[in-house]
């Protein structure tokens, strides 16, 4: 179960070069916290749109929840999209209903005809994104940017997908909004065991939250593994234009000045704190 890619090629235009090349990928249904990295144009958004059949492979097979995604088979779309919920970039632009609750109910209505059930799942989803009940009957357009984004995410959660995919969920939010949103996703992941997949450019987010990193460059997967091995592989970072987390840069600069030594590159503030203070104990 989960999502499997077998030798997948994808192109938007058969005459142009391929957007994705020979993708092989296995994503578990449960307990993943994956960040997809790569510079603009590397194929990240295209890849996640294959995960819920918004894009169909030109070659190879994408299998979602045991269902093979095939062209011209509309029957499979509903179960696939029920399995994988995709939140687009700037999802708040897609809000349209009169009230917050109605907007969140729109998605699950496609899967469930019983209005009471739909309302219940919508309310549960709104709770998961910590949106106050007093806002349910408000127009979504009178909310702050951060709140609107939460409504949009609730709209996907309300259909209760097993895997939640978000395309750059923190872009445009202020620093507190960013942290709150990431903490919320971690919380949802822990509570529901749903796998979470995030496209991001923010290495501080990767350092803090990611369990597994997938790096794309020019339509190919060039890395799939842990964040620590990735950040310690300076060759990989350089070749694919990836940045280090801010704290790791500080750590390297202290190391270069001979002020500290470390085996494992510190990725977070606490890790660097330990390196600096432990160094003292050893002496």
């Amino acid at each position: 179960m989960g999502i499997n890619f077998y030798d997948v090629d994808f192109t938007y235009d058969v005459k142009a070069s391929k957007t994705l090349k020979n993708i092989n990928l296995k994503i578990n249904k449960e307990n993943e916290f994956i960040t997809i990295l790569g510079h603009t144009g590397s194929g990240k958004s295209t890849l996640v749109q294959l995960m819920n059949a918004l894009n169909l492979p030109n070659k190879g097979v994408v299998e979602v929840a045991g269902i093979k995604i095939l062209p011209n088979n509309k029957e499979m779309l509903k179960p696939v999209r029920r399995h994988v919920g995709l939140v687009f970039q700037f999802p708040e632009y897609q809000l349209f209903e009169e009230t917050v609750l109605k907007d969140v109910m729109f998605g699950p209505k496609n899967f469930d005809k019983n209005n009471a059930d739909v309302e219940l799942s919508a309310k549960q989803a709104l709770k998961m994104v910590s949106l106050d009940e007093s806002l349910y009957e408000r127009s979504p357009f009178n909310l702050s940017g951060g709140q609107m984004r939460r409504v949009a995410i609730a709209g996907i959660l309300a259909s209760n997908p097993d895997i939640l995919v978000l395309d750059e969920p923190t872009v445009g939010l202020d620093p507190k909004g960013k942290t709150d949103l990431m903490e919320m996703l971690v919380e949802i992941q822990k509570e529901t065991n749903k796998s979470v997949i995030i496209i991001t450019h923010d290495m501080n987010v990767v350092a803090k939250y990611s369990k597994r990193c997938i790096v794309l460059d020019d339509g190919k997967i060039v890395y799939d593994g842990g964040k620590r091995e990735m950040f310690e592989n300076s060759e990989l970072l350089k070749n694919h234009n990836l940045d280090l987390p801010d704290i790791s840069k500080v750590a390297n600069s202290l190391k270069n000045k001979g002020l500290i030594t470390f085996e494992a590159l510190p990725l977070t503030k606490d890790e660097l704190f330990n390196v600096i203070t432990r160094g003292d104990e050893n002496e």
Partner: protein
């Protein structure tokens, strides 16, 4: 351009005050970063300066002259603004036409126009793209063209209104580098950068932190950025490295001063 806000209040609805009796002065030729969470009123300040909005009460003085509907056009000729979304500010079918657009509107002579297009496209490192269609550029390149367009008007005041918030890290770096080099040219231009990324405020002469329509912090980056409590209460975050310094200050360890100094330095040269 010297900018002075005297007791400026602004709201759309009386019950939701955006700027609350705000007074401050920005000196000519300096770079100021105005930071605050989304909805703190920071972009409203930019809109008031360029006259897109009018204060409900209070006055705005530009070069010691009261900004009114009568001198608005004349004042606007001295300022340029770069907005958030690079896709919303293109009019030309080539980069060159786009930079020329503002100049044509001001009836600048053709030779002078060519001179400025060359000069300012070089300054933002886009001279090789002059004949290209702006639609095919990356976000960072588009914003650099927008900056060249503003520079070509030879304005005294340049406002960056969250001009990196829709860009990827590469684009953000390009724009920050451009702003930094503009500042370091010391050509007497006044720069205002409105942002919620604290990293972008590091190289300003001065930072104003806005919360609830009021200025809650005002000072140099090294004064303002370590103030954890006020920044957090304002919906902002302390940069990880500075927060580390605060944590380390509380305990004793070998070569403390040297290490703290080195962390500080590495943040400002990142």
């Amino acid at each position: 351009m010297k900018i002075e806000f005297r007791n400026v209040t602004f709201y759309y609805k009386k019950s939701e005050v955006v700027l609350d009796n705000l007074s401050f002065t920005i000196e000519d030729g300096t770079m100021t970063a105005i930071i605050g969470h989304n909805g703190s009123g920071k972009s409203t300040i930019a809109k008031l300066i360029i006259g897109l909005l009018e204060p409900v009460s209070g006055e705005i003085y530009l070069n010691d002259e009261l900004l009114t509907i009568d001198n608005l056009d004349e004042m606007r000729a001295k300022m340029g603004i770069i907005f958030q979304n690079p896709d919303n500010q293109f009019v030309g079918s080539t980069v060159k036409d786009d930079i020329a657009f503002g100049l044509e509107n001001r009836l600048i002579e053709r030779e002078e126009m060519i001179r400025r297009i060359e000069k300012y496209s070089r300054l933002v490192n886009m001279e090789e793209y002059l004949e290209k269609n702006p639609e095919n550029l990356s976000g960072g390149q588009k914003q650099r063209v927008a900056i060249a367009g503003v520079l070509a008007m030879e304005s005294d005041l340049i406002i960056f209104d969250e001009s990196t918030s829709m860009l990827d890290p590469k684009g953000t770096k390009e724009i920050n580098k451009t702003i930094k080099s503009l500042k370091n040219m010391n050509n007497g231009k006044t720069i205002i950068s409105i942002t919620h990324e604290l990293e972008e405020a590091l190289y300003a002469d001065r930072i104003l932190v806005l919360n609830g329509g009021k200025i809650v912090l005002d000072g140099s980056p090294s004064d303002v950025l370590p103030k954890k409590d006020i920044l957090e209460a304002s919906g902002l975050k302390v940069i990880d490295g500075l927060s580390l310094i605060e944590d380390l200050k509380k305990i004793d360890f070998e070569s403390k001063d040297v290490i703290l100094e080195a962390i500080w330095e590495s943040i400002f040269t990142m």
